[in-house]
Structure formats: structure tokens, C-alpha cells
């Protein structure tokens, strides 16, 4: 009885839920045969932004467009393309927004310079603190 009810309800619910009518692209939910290539693809997919979702990578999303992007990544990797070339191809189309891995550009260099500066500041804080100490202890 419960099962029957569920079936009826599901039939009713289906049109509401229909979003797009086509099945996902072949490699949206299917791994590449070669584990080496699949590992490359997975690593890349985790660093590409799903454009339809809010701050999720295409590897963590059920959005159809994320599926289509995964298909692009996997087929291109299978065709022997370098993961970084695929990233560059996407950046050429969507700008840096699509990649979670910032490049060093005129707009992003502080992202890398500031941690380096922090490293230097940390060094000086520690040195300042302890150099004086040991001198004080020696007196």
C-alpha cells in the first residue's frame, strides 16, 4: 500500500521536478577507464567553479551544467589534453572566476605577496622578541 502510494505520488511529483529533459552527458557521472587520467580529471574538476551554483566546484554539484563541464574535462583529458590547458581554455571563456586556483596576474599578485610578507613579518617578530631576550640574559 505504502509502495503504491509512493508510486502515485512520484508520478504526480515528476513534472514539478522536471528541470531539463535530457539525460546527463556521457562523462558527467562516469569515470574514465584509465585511473591515472581519471585522477588527473578529478583533481582538475575539484578546482573549477560551478557557474550555476554558489561556491561549489563542478566535482561537488548536481547541476546539469556542472555535469556538462565534467564531461568536457573528462573527454578532453581522455583525448590527451593537459589539465592546465583545459583550465586555460575555460578561463579564456569565463575569466578567472571559473578557476578556484588563482593565477599570478596584475589583479591577483597581492594574494601571493601578502603571505610572503607575513612570513617575513613572522620572522622579524620572533627574532625581535628573542634576540633581545638572549642579549638581556647575557648581561
Amino acid at each position: 500500500m505504502r509502495v503504491l502510494l509512493a508510486l502515485i505520488a512520484l508520478a504526480l511529483a515528476a513534472p514539478l521536478a522536471a528541470q531539463d529533459s535530457l539525460p546527463p552527458a556521457p562523462y558527467a557521472y562516469q569515470q574514465l577507464e584509465d585511473p591515472e587520467l581519471e585522477a588527473q580529471a578529478t583533481e582538475l574538476m575539484h578546482t573549477l567553479r560551478c557557474l550555476k551554483c554558489q561556491s561549489q566546484s563542478i566535482a561537488d554539484s548536481d547541476a546539469p551544467m556542472a555535469g556538462d563541464m565534467r564531461h568536457q574535462v573528462r573527454t578532453r583529458i581522455a583525448a590527451g589534453e593537459d589539465p592546465e590547458d583545459i583550465r586555460a581554455w575555460l578561463i579564456q571563456r569565463y575569466g578567472d572566476y571559473v578557476s578556484y586556483q588563482p593565477r599570478v596576474t596584475a589583479a591577483t599578485w597581492p594574494l601571493f605577496a601578502i603571505p610572503l610578507a607575513l612570513l617575513v613579518i613572522v620572522f622579524f617578530i620572533l627574532r625581535g622578541r628573542f634576540a633581545r631576550r638572549s642579549k638581556g640574559a647575557g648581561e
Binding site: 535530457l22 557557474l51 546539469p64 556538462d68 563541464m69 575569466g95 625581535g128
Partner: protein, 178 residues
Amino acid sequence: MKGLRYFLWGLVALAAGLFGLFAYQLTQPKDEFVESAMIGQPIPAFDLRPALESQPGLSSADLADGQPKLVNIFASWCVPCRAEAPQLETLRDSGAEIVGIAIRDRPEDVAAFLQVYGNPFTRVGADDISEVQLSLGSSGVPETFVVDGNGVITYQHIGDIRPEHVPGILARLREAGA
């Protein structure tokens, strides 16, 4: 001690900068649109099978035939696409040539959709795995691109076309034709 004082005033300045940035961003309208970086670029090569039995499909060669065109990216399952249908009709009646790319759609659904909401297109290509959409740098439906006669993308309109957008798009199309 002097070092600490400088450091703290630095921190005050940093906080002030941060609050300034927050205040500025609060006054900015938040748009979630991801703009295509392909504007000014020639349209990438593609060849899509027809989405309808009655009309031809779409290839990149069709977009470099000397005539400026509007490329409308749509889908039968997309609700705002229904809302913009009258504006597409207006654009066509004003002399724009519009070609369509149907995203992730079945032929019968496309046919039914165009039957109900009107068919402003001269050609409709079917993009089943969003491949052309991705290569155009488009991130949703509906979007409309202006492509000049040489097949170069000159403008992108994101979201549904409202009546107030029509004159602007026509102007862009004229620019692309000149």
C-alpha cells in the same frame, strides 16, 4: 614599545580599509552574472544538428555570412525564456535576424515550446551537452549574443530580455552591422 604602537596603528588602518571596502560593496548592486570573456573574439567553430525538423541547424560558418545576428541561448524547460519570447518577436519584427541554440532539449519539447510562445528563429541548433554554450562562455539560459557579419561576438545580454532592453540590443546590432 614603539614597534607595538606602529603595529597597532597599522591594524587600525587595515580595519578602516576593510570597513571601507565593506561599505562600498554594500552600496553596489549585487549581480550574480558571470560575463563571457569572449566578447570581441571570433565565435569558436561548432556545428550543431537541427533542434527542429522544420528548420536547419546552426554552425559557426552560418554566423560569418556577412549579416549581423542575434544568437539566443534558450531551452524549453527554462521559465524566463517564456517571459522573453514577446521581446524576441519584437526584435525580429524590427529586422533582427535571430538564431537559436537550444540547451539540453528534446526536439518534441523545442517544437512544442516554439509552437506556444512563437518562433522568432531562422535556424535552431541543438546543444545537448552544453558544449557550444561552454565554448561561448555562457553560463545560463536565457542569454543573447550579438555577432557581427564576420562572426565576431560584440555583445552579451545575460538573463531574459525585458521590453526596456530592446532598443539597446537593436542599437548594438546596428553597430555590429556598420
